[in-house]
């Protein structure tokens, strides 16, 4: 568990709120809550996770009960409920991927990173997690980096290259 200091999140910036406003504008004026999924993912992109503070700020912004926001955070698999490594890697291991080395790719990464699945490297660079179907079965082995970037046809060589690149980027 991280210390209280690292669990503290920064208040939402004007830039973040502008991104929220763009999402809210998609929905009827009395249905601002519809933007909660997008707002949570924006916060996660900017801060790396969804903190209770962020949930409260989003709740205020959308006129929701904080618990209603928390229900969404906890229901959907991709929201990070605690700080993770700088880069989160999710490897699909569902059956179509398993048939094409998805599980092997996950184990290869664990070995390369020297951690167990679900853990974060000691330098805080990379968190490794399994994933469920990403809807890219013909691209197997397939993985996501920080929710938004899908990497396809990940052979062992490409996995090594990915890890080396992300480790270097984490130091910058």
């Amino acid at each position: 568990m991280s210390s209280e200091a690292t669990r503290h999140s920064t208040p939402l910036s004007a830039q973040t709120l502008a991104r929220f406003a763009r999402e809210v504008a998609k929905y009827p004026a009395d249905q601002k809550q519809s933007a909660v999924m997008a707002c949570l993912s924006i916060v996660q992109q900017e801060q790396g996770w969804v903190s209770p503070d962020s949930e409260r700020e989003i709740a205020d912004y959308l006129g929701m009960a904080p618990m209603a926001v928390h229900e969404v955070t906890t229901f959907y698999n991709m929201y990070n409920q605690q700080p993770l490594g700088k880069f989160k890697i999710n490897v699909c291991t569902n059956l179509p991927c398993q048939l094409r080395n998805g599980q092997h790719a996950l184990m290869h990464l664990a070995h390369k990173l020297g951690i167990n699945v679900g853990e974060t490297t000691a330098d805080g660079a990379i968190t490794l997690q399994p994933g469920e179907c990403m809807g890219a079965c013909a691209d197997a082995p397939v993985l996501l980096v920080n929710d938004r970037t899908m990497c396809s046809f990940m052979s062992d060589d490409k996995l090594d290259q990915l890890v080396d690149g992300l480790r270097a980027a984490a130091k910058e």
């Binding site: 809550q33 229901f75 291991t93 179907c133 938004r148 990940m154």
Partner: protein, 450 residues
Amino acid sequence: MSVDNFLAQFRASGVETCFHDRHINPQIYAGINGQNWSLKDYEARGGYQALRKILGIGGGEPMTQDQVIATVKESGLRGRGGAGFPTGLKWSFMPRQFPGQKYLVCNSDEGEPGTCKDREILQHNPHIVIEGMAIAAYAMGISVGYNYIHGEIFQTYERFEAALEEARAAGYLGEHILGSSFSFQLHAAHGFGAYICGEETALLESLEGKKGQPRFKPPFPASFGLYGKPTTINNTETFAAVPWIIRNGGQAYLECGKPNNGGTKIFSISGDVERPGNYEIPMGTPFAKLLELAGGVKGGRQLKAVIPGGSSAPVLPAHIMMDCTMDYDSIAKAGSMLGSGAVIVMDETRCMVKSLQRLSYFYQHESCGQCTPCREGTGWLWRMVDRIENGQGRESDLALLDNVAENIMGRTICALGDAAAMPVRGMLKHFRHEFEHHITHKTCMVPAYV
């Protein structure tokens, strides 16, 4: 080098899976190459001609709402998301005269294991979905729509948003489309990792900013949908089929396929084939032909089993599958379902117990927890299959698996429970001996699982 630039090298190009010459008479994937997704390219391929046609722009009388719906009915188009419900009939259920707000929703929450077709439609030909939705909105008198896109394909969501901006700027979306009296606003929303949101009422809950737990039906979305208003929900590929139908006529579409199974269909082939990918072929094409297009079984091995319609469809052994044609009726007659058109191929080296173990894990992981038979039953199924796989199965487990599956089916609000139970029953029906071998000998009867 920025992280985004570094990661770009690992992005799928679509060359292997979509831009190949092994489609047969493609309509949706016709002429796309990964570079030509934008509006001007789509227009050059004849894009938005169908929308112009129904609005009577550029010559000809406008089509009436009834004429559009009749054309879609005539085409034999059936829902491409999995249920195969006739699209024209669904559109006719929308109470067009309802005075309040009505909604159109596109279900792009493509997460059924094995399915990866909608992603490549939205990524490489997004305007075909926008045009299809605009036509549907016109036919049903709807002024607002949403496309709910699987959270895991975020880049595709961003691509679709870019296409929406182009369509708005060109007057294909918004107020008074192309100067007509028809107005339609379309927006994109995204999920964030919940298989259940592919279920249409769970999707609506999610779109309302809630947990994605399915609603009890009735009332159906046509009367009580998004924000409690009449709503029509179709799959991405279904909307993508519509422009061709309007341009060429319902009869022409029907003739592409076979009776009651009109048109082309995109099949996603994954697993043990030489060339996994998406293949758009006429409905009714023999499975053997589809397998050939995908390069045959990997490494020249023997075909063992096929899950023909996404992970929820019961598995079929090779000898049954090789006699099937790829359409709703043929696959249903063989005891499975065409579903979303996701064909998972398994060769002779695959253990069916291990395969089912992974699928059962998925369903217990993704059960929303609302209904007891599914929440508890999917856990039971997984734990039993898991212990059989691990050599700790009991003699009584097979009867208990049957019993638990039986007690889930038909006893839940949505179809996820059935989707978890059907693969179990399919495996036990066709490959019971493998499960018995695992229990008796505490080991696998298949030589190697690589």
